[in-house]
């Protein structure tokens, strides 16, 4: 190549040692090694994180050092860029210097030029390229995107409409996972009816005996014995022979029913002895009263008072007076008289008088944090909570169903605390409840009430199913038999329920939904430019839309519903250069390592036999 130049001139020009070094392979290897080390550091040291992360992870001193030498963003640091530029220069000089116009040198030329092209293309993209993202709602459009680096809105001179967004889902898959606790061994076993599978490394074996594709729990009340261990009655409330309400009352648990419209509370009670019987059947009895708790933070003051409307409480040790203004059993219905409110969202209204005037607050029994979170309090150190028992009632009419172990069972009706009537009752007979206009019928009596839970095939009426037609999911259940040191145990397992433990508490089984649900997601995009639709395309991951140099990728979607599609937007002016570099590099390496050895053999056939596997010859090719 330098044939025309004067050899002496050439020698003078290339004489400086520095220049020699810049053109040398040695420099290239040094740069390559430093780049490799820099890359390794870039994956070991946290990159592009907020400063606090570095201090917490590496300590103040190191964090400062890292920041100073740009270890916090190695790949975009000045010195990394410098290395790449130096490599480009070195490659360029190397190539010019060592190129001889022979066929065998094609690979050398092509590979080195390709790397320079790739680096130049990357540089063009870094300086002039665009990258960002934007969400487009179904049926709507955007004419901008948000820049990745600073979330600035970058306008586009056309609009992109999302005409539709589609998610394709896989049918759900289910799997059975076994866990052996003392070996910390987790293994997925296939669900195959009738196949006995030994869990390797343990003494357990699991067999799936049966399978329901769609199952549910069915709860059935049963009577376990004739001993009154958990007395319960099934009651129907009737209005002119129509059943208005019905259900179980359990004496030792949920034993009441309130009808606020009729100002009635029905209670079911069990008397252990005669004295109890007298009290329960003939008096209204005490139930837990609503309480208000006042806490002054910082002063360790805690006061608990019964809720009585109009009552004032002064707090010793603090400058506050708390007045209870109103009790509501149903906050939404708080304007109505207390008797007409059914217990739904009980709350207490309070006025706090202090040095800065009067503050009004509501405190909710079921949501103790609500008021503080939603409102600015004047007096932040005073905290109020109230508790109103579930069975609290001010009803004037009381019906008490009382039983004792001797077989005595009565219905007593009280009004305003006074016993009006008391009668014996029998199963399946209805009885008037005095002035209320209602009747009551006791249909069943279980001395030992219990619930039997069963897994059954779900019937086909699809109640409560929330899915599109054709997308039936199904709730599978399997009957598993586990064999182990404590014998054989079998039970049904419904999917996505808590794990089932074997009696020795060492083996657990979990039947769960596995795998991913989303198969694919696509958007139908339409580009409108100058008022006209110029392009429509269904994009999906791996298949973007290209227009005017911009590329729109299917990147993500609204995780909560399918209302918007997430697009990644890029523009890479240097792409052609980079891709050309890529192709040349591939061609080049294939040439050097696959084509050249054969070419060399053919071309040097007539000459002195050279060992073409020796490193020396390879080296010799590249030295002047």
């Amino acid at each position: 190549m330098a044939k025309a130049a004067n050899p002496q001139d050439k020698k003078a020009k290339n004489d400086s040692k520095a220049w020699q070094f810049v053109c040398s392979v040695k420099l290239a290897v040094i740069i390559i090694i430093i780049l490799a080390v820099a890359c390794i550091l870039g994956t070991l040291v946290l990159q592009m994180r907020p400063p606090e992360d570095y201090v917490s992870r590496y300590g103040e001193g190191l964090a400062k050092l890292f920041s100073a030498i740009q270890f916090t963003d190695i790949f975009h640091s000045y010195w990394f860029a410098f290395l790449l530029v130096l490599l480009c220069v070195n490659l360029g000089c190397c190539t010019i210097k060592r190129w001889r116009n022979t066929v065998l040198q094609i690979g050398f030329l092509v590979t080195h030029i390709s790397i320079i092209m790739i680096l130049i293309g990357c540089f063009i993209d870094l300086q002039f390229g665009e990258k960002g993202g934007v969400n487009v709602y179904e049926g709507k459009s955007v004419d901008y995107y948000l820049n990745r680096a600073d979330y600035r809105k970058i306008p586009l001179d056309f609009q992109v409409y999302c005409d539709d967004f589609i998610i394709e889902k896989h049918p759900p898959k289910f799997r059975l996972v076994t866990f052996v606790k003392n070996k910390d061994l987790q293994k997925v076993i296939p669900v195959k009816v009738g196949k006995k599978i030994n869990i390797p490394g343990s003494s357990y074996a699991v067999t799936v005996k049966d399978y329901y594709q769609d199952a549910e729990y069915r709860h059935e009340p049963i009577n376990e014995s004739n001993e009154p261990n958990n007395p319960a009655i099934y009651v129907q409330m009737l209005d002119s022979n129509h059943v208005t309400a019905e259900g179980w009352l359990l004496a030792k648990d949920r034993n009441w029913y309130s009808d606020s419209k009729r100002d009635l509370k029905v209670e079911y009670l069990w008397a252990d002895n005669d004295e109890d019987y007298e009290k329960l059947a003939k008096t209204v009895g005490k139930s837990a009263k609503p309480k208000l708790d006042i806490i002054i933070e910082g002063k360790n003051i805690h006061k608990s008072v019964p809720v009585e409307e109009g009552k004032s409480i002064s707090i010793d040790g603090a400058d506050y007076v708390v007045e209870i203004k109103q009790l509501a059993l149903d906050y939404a219905n708080r304007a109505a008289p207390l008797r007409e409110q059914s217990l739904d969202n009980p709350a207490v209204r309070v006025e706090i008088t202090g040095p800065q005037g009067v503050e009004t607050r509501w405190t909710f029994s079921k949501y103790p944090d609500y008021w503080d979170k939603a409102h600015q309090s004047k007096y932040k150190d005073i905290k109020l909570t109230c508790s109103i028992p579930d069975d609290f009632s001010e009803a004037a009419n009381r019906l008490k169903i009382v039983q004792n172990k001797d077989g005595k069972q009565t219905l007593s009706y009280l009004n305003d605390g006074n016993l009006i009537s008391i009668i014996d009752w029998e199963i399946d007979k209805s009885y008037e409840i005095d002035e209320t206009g209602l009747q009551i019928r006791i249909v069943k009596y279980f001395p030992s009430h219990s619930t039997k839970r069963e897994v059954v095939r779900r019937s086909d009426n699809h109640e409560g199913h929330n899915h599109a037609p054709g997308e039936h999911v199904g709730n599978p259940a399997i009957l598993v038999e586990i064999e182990g040191p404590r014998g054989i145990v079998a039970d049904w397992m419904l999917v996505n329920n808590p794990p089932k433990w074997y009696p020795d508490k060492n083996l657990a089984l979990l039947y769960e939904q596995s795998g991913m649900v989303v198969k694919d997601y696509k958007s139908i995009l339409r580009v409108v430019d100058g008022g006209k639709t110029v392009m429509t395309k269904t994009i999906e991951v791996n298949d973007p839309l290209k227009y005017k140099g911009y590329v729109f990728y299917q990147s993500s979607y609204d995780p909560e519903g399918e209302r918007y599609t997430g697009l990644q937007v890029t523009r890479n002016p240097g792409l052609a250069v980079v891709y050309s570099g890529f192709i040349l590099l591939c061609v080049g390496v294939v040439f050097i390592f696959y084509v050249k050895p054969f070419l060399r053999r053919k071309l040097k056939k007539g000459q002195k036999v050279k060992d073409y596997y020796s490193d020396d010859e390879i080296a010799a090719e590249h030295i002047e």
Binding site: I32, V518, N542, F582
Partner: protein, 294 residues
């Protein structure tokens, strides 16, 4: 499927033993026996790959389990091709290639052992992997890794030879006489040849990964840990290829140069393995969405 997997694993173990026995007692029968056992392992491995392809209905290289099985297969395949070229093209009759065979069988066995301890449930392909680039990109990488693994084995053997014989005996794999080769091929030269075979595939793998990333995510390079480590691997082998050009100009003795080059290979292949399997250990792994194979 489980049964075939276990059997294949044991046949690879048998191949290791067969190759070692063959290297000690150098009879022609043993040569064919060891070759046969190894080929048997490869056939079984092929069955594993094909049955998985059929059952999963996608190319069997999309998750950890499939990768292990496929990698074991490419290791065996590339080595077998090398054996066949040695026998039928270079027409070498006496060679110590079997030592490499033992090491390659060991590597395949290790991959299958990892497969046995990995969840083999068939998983649906996430949208990002539903692309033909998956096959192109992954196959290129596994073939390159397989060739590079041979260079690793050869480097180990070379260093052991040098340590034991201290230059008094040649570390010859295949002799130049009685064959189509012009000169003896020593283990370090075998290592170099393996790198020249594997490096182009490594390059193409890197580039196809980049082009695929552009099509799927919009950027052809994101400095994601897996991408960065694949670049590191490429740079290390690139420097290995350029070192012979500069070593003569340094003060390093000519007899020491192959030792240095072998040491580079000893470091390079674990880097490749780390890129393949070890990404989840990185502190920066949290920031990556490339680690789906883990």
């Amino acid at each position: 499927m489980d049964f075939t997997l276990n059997v294949t694993f044991y046949v690879y173990i048998a191949a290791i033993i067969a190759y070692v026995v063959r290297e000690i007692w150098r009879t022609k029968t043993l040569r064919w026996v060891s070759f046969g056992v190894f080929t048997g392992a490869l056939v079984l491995n092929t069955v594993l790959v094909l049955t998985r392809w059929y059952e999963a209905n996608h190319a069997p290289m999309s998750d950890k389990y499939e990768s292990f099985v496929f990698f074991a297969w490419t290791i065996a395949l590339v080595y077998l091709i090398m054996e066949l070229v040695t026998i039928f093209i270079a027409r070498v009759h006496e060679s110590r290639l079997g030592i490499i065979g033992a090491l390659q069988s060991l590597l395949s066995a290790w991959m299958l052992h990892s497969a046995i301890n990995t969840d083999s449930t068939i998983k649906e392909l996430p949208p990002a992997l539903q692309s033909n680039w998956l096959v192109v990109h992954v196959i290129n990488y596994f073939i390159s890794y397989s060739a590079l693994s041979i260079s690793f084995s050869a480097a180990i053997i070379y260093l052991i030879y040098r340590a034991i014989y201290r230059g008094r005996a040649q570390e010859i794999v295949m002799t130049g006489s009685d064959s189509q080769l012009r000169k003896d091929v020593t283990f370090d030269k075998l290592a170099y040849i393996s790198v020249t075979i594997g490096f182009p595939f490594l390059t193409v793998g890197l580039i196809t990964g980049s082009i695929w990333a552009k099509g799927a995510w919009g950027t052809y390079w994101g400095w994601d840990p897996k991408e960065t480590w694949s670049l590191i691997s490429w740079l290390v082998y690139l420097s290995y290829l350029h070192l012979p050009m500069i070593l003569p100009k340094t003060k390093i003795k000519k007899t020491f140069a192959p030792i240095l080059l072998s040491i580079v290979l000893l470091v390079a292949f674990p880097i490749v393995l780390f890129t393949f399997m070890g990404m989840h250990k990185l502190p920066t792994a949290v920031d990556s969405d490339h680690i789906y194979a883990e």
